[in-house]
């Protein structure tokens, strides 16, 4: 287990890297599912929709892995300080369940990263487009869900209280 100060530092870093990850994934998914048709006026929303999705791939993989490693490190503190001494004591089963889903989504996302890289590095064909969209959407869902659940739990009981 980490000391409170180290755990809080890791938690904040984990949260910041998670924001970068979900930002990159959200851009990628928007450009895949809501790409602009034709040359419209280049406003904020059109620019958001027109990003080059493939350029985000390597950054997403690196950010996802860093976020997962940081989360895996502070999980030890969470298991004792938050879950055992607070959520379990007060029988907050729904919050426990949400965290369980978060850990499953992130663990499965880790295993999908090599395939995600493989399909994004391939030449685009119609059958590949669907795989790219679903894998990116899965990762985006996993990161958004985990980010929101992490915030929720931190609001219930953070480290060092």
């Amino acid at each position: 287990m980490f000391s409170d100060n180290v755990a809080i530092f890791l938690l904040i870093t984990h949260g910041i890297v998670a924001v970068f990850t979900l930002g990159a994934l959200t851009h990628q998914v928007i450009s895949l599912t809501w790409a602009p048709k034709g040359a419209g006026q280049a406003g904020f929303v059109t620019s958001l929709r027109a990003v080059r999705a493939a350029h985000y791939t390597n950054a997403i993989i690196v950010l996802y892995v860093i976020t997962a490693i940081l989360g895996g490190l502070i999980y030890v503190n969470y298991r004792i300080e938050v879950r055992q001494f607070y959520l379990d004591q007060y029988k907050m089963y729904k919050s426990n369940g949400l965290f369980e889903m978060k850990e499953h989504l992130i663990a499965m996302g880790l295993g999908l990263l090599p395939a995600y890289w493989y399909y994004w590095k391939q030449e685009l064909k119609p059958e590949i487009a669907k795989v790219r969209t679903v894998l990116s959407a899965y990762l985006a869902f996993a990161v958004w869900f985990s980010f929101l659940v992490g915030h929720w739990l931190n609001n219930i009981q953070g480290f060092g209280k």
């Binding site: 369940g97 369980e100 989504l105 395939a115 899965y138």
Partner: protein, 119 residues
């Protein structure tokens, strides 16, 4: 790397399906302990097997890291086998399984985790 990369979808499918299976097996008590190793955060100890001492002495046990290690091994073995087979024939099948498997695994995990929400 390029020739090896063709089996990345196989790794992903085997990893994701086995992750859900290990969790379900644990949940259903099919095995007393099926993670590659267990971690005891209160003791700061990794152990290959569950400790016999009562939880009051050891503190909680974490199997998540061990399940990930299990799934990496299963994925690597499946990818290794796929690497020995000729390329190309099954590519289309894996391109479907690679997105269907995580959705299926997620639904299975949701079903088994539902007990947290209906207590």
């Amino acid at each position: 790397m390029r020739s090896m990369a063709r089996v990345f979808p196989v790794f992903g499918v085997a990893y994701v399906l086995s992750y859900a299976l290990f969790f379900v097996a644990q949940d259903r008590a099919l095995f007393s302990h099926n993670a590659l190793f267990a971690y005891y955060p209160a003791l700061g100890e990794f152990d290959w097997d569950l400790l016999k001492a009562p939880l009051a002495k050891t503190g909680p046990v974490m199997l998540w890291y061990g399940w990930i290690a299990n799934s990496v091994i299963v994925g690597a073995v499946a990818a290794g086998i796929a690497l020995l087979l000729p390329a190309g024939r099954s590519a289309k099948l894996w391109s479907v399984l690679v997105w269907a498997a995580p959705i299926l695994s997620f639904l299975v995990l949701c079903y088994f985790e539902r007990l947290w929400f209906i207590r």
